[in-house]
């Protein structure tokens, strides 16, 4: 039995089933709330903080917070947008994101958010951290320069026993996502392809494959991210 509840996003009356996460409830009401770490079908973790909204004066992630009856959600205000933009900029400076040299350019969700918020230059100094590229596994390349630690690969790419191919290593600003050497040897083409697809940036690439779609004809080259949702 569905139980529809009413709530508001930026003053607009919305309806969704009780218990739906805000980001999804917003989508059902044609409102786009940007996400990076969130992926339909995976347990949300609220780690990129891009989908932050304000509810009752408190900042909450809309990928992990269910809508409640009468809830008033602030998502499109200037300071929330500014916050999201600063997070995008923070992600850009804390990795090595060389868009011109990246296979994912045009299909990259981080870049697409840079476009959405018209990031002309990040306000923070570039960090240029020294990061490794791991090409040791047979199927994929794991480029740590571009990884934004969203955990999507960790959560979604598992073998038939449910063991994770990917996992975190270390913590804080030393945090990285690494690939299990032993399992990597068993990775199928489908798993490799899925890993690349699920990566929002260009950190996971399938070997010996690239630029199938030319730059200029890619997902976010002509249309902003979220334009399929927002009316």
């Amino acid at each position: 039995m569905s139980s529809l509840i009413k709530f508001k996003i930026d003053g607009k009356e919305c309806m969704a089933e009780a218990g739906t996460f805000i980001v999804e409830a917003a989508r059902q009401n044609s409102i786009y709330i940007p996400t990076l770490c969130n992926m339909p079908g995976l347990k949300p973790k609220g780690s990129c903080r891009i989908c932050t909204v304000r509810i009752n004066g408190r900042l909450m992630t809309s990928c992990t917070t269910p809508v409640a009856d009468g809830m008033e959600i602030e998502s499109g205000s200037l300071d929330i947008i500014e916050l999201r933009k600063s997070i995008v900029e923070l992600l850009f400076v804390s990795g090595n994101h060389f868009c011109p040299a990246c296979e994912k350019s045009g299909n990259c969700e981080l870049q697409a958010l840079g476009y959405l918020y018209q990031m002309m230059v990040p306000r923070y100094p570039y960090d240029f951290p020294l990061r490794a590229v791991d090409a040791s596994s047979p199927k994929i390349i794991k480029d740590q320069n571009r990884c934004i630690l969203c955990k999507r690969c960790i959560k979604s790419i598992k073998d038939e026993d449910g063991k994770s191919f990917f996992a975190f290593r270390s913590r804080g600003n030393h945090l990285e996502v690494v690939l299990d050497q032993e399992l990597a040897a068993t990775m199928t083409d489908e798993q490799a392809e899925l890993a690349m697809q699920n990566c929002p940036v260009g950190s996971i690439l399938v070997k010996e494959k690239g630029f199938a779609t030319p730059i200029g004809k890619r997902k976010f080259d002509k249309q902003p991210i979220g334009s399929d949702i927002h009316v």
Partner: protein, 182 residues
Amino acid sequence: MSKPIIATTSLAGCFGCHMSILDIDERILQLIELVEFNKSPIDDIKTFTKPVDIGIIEGGCCNSENVEVLKSFRKNCKILISLGECAIMGGLPALRNGIPVEECIHEAYIGGPTVQLNKDHILPNDDELPMLLDKVYPCHEIVKIDYFLPGCPPRADLIWDALVALITGDPLKLPYEVVKFD
């Protein structure tokens, strides 16, 4: 009123951004009507001959000469624009950032797989050569930059629209297609 004066330079860049300036096609004729060029590879004027209104910088700073040129642009131009990814974030030359400069030089002149002729392992150290910086710096981490036009190269339309907006004082419209990082 006299025409605004423009100067341009390419630091650690590939001249692709300058190509993109030329890529405004026939509007170049309009541009010549609107502005006067001073120091620039486009007209081959080597030194500043008068105060400049708009300085356009392509490329980041990878050596001491880049820094010197950038500083002279800051001194001689009222407004500075970082044009393209290299000026904005170092771009492809900055792929070496994070790797110690010693390793980079070693790779380029001694240890790299394509180094064959340099049998005596000579390293470039003539005083006339610019000195290599520890990393490639975005221009705005060295001098104050007023505007940024991203892209590799920035789309010709973006360059045109930005220059026109700057010269006429009209607000700059940024259609989605023109702001790109690739």
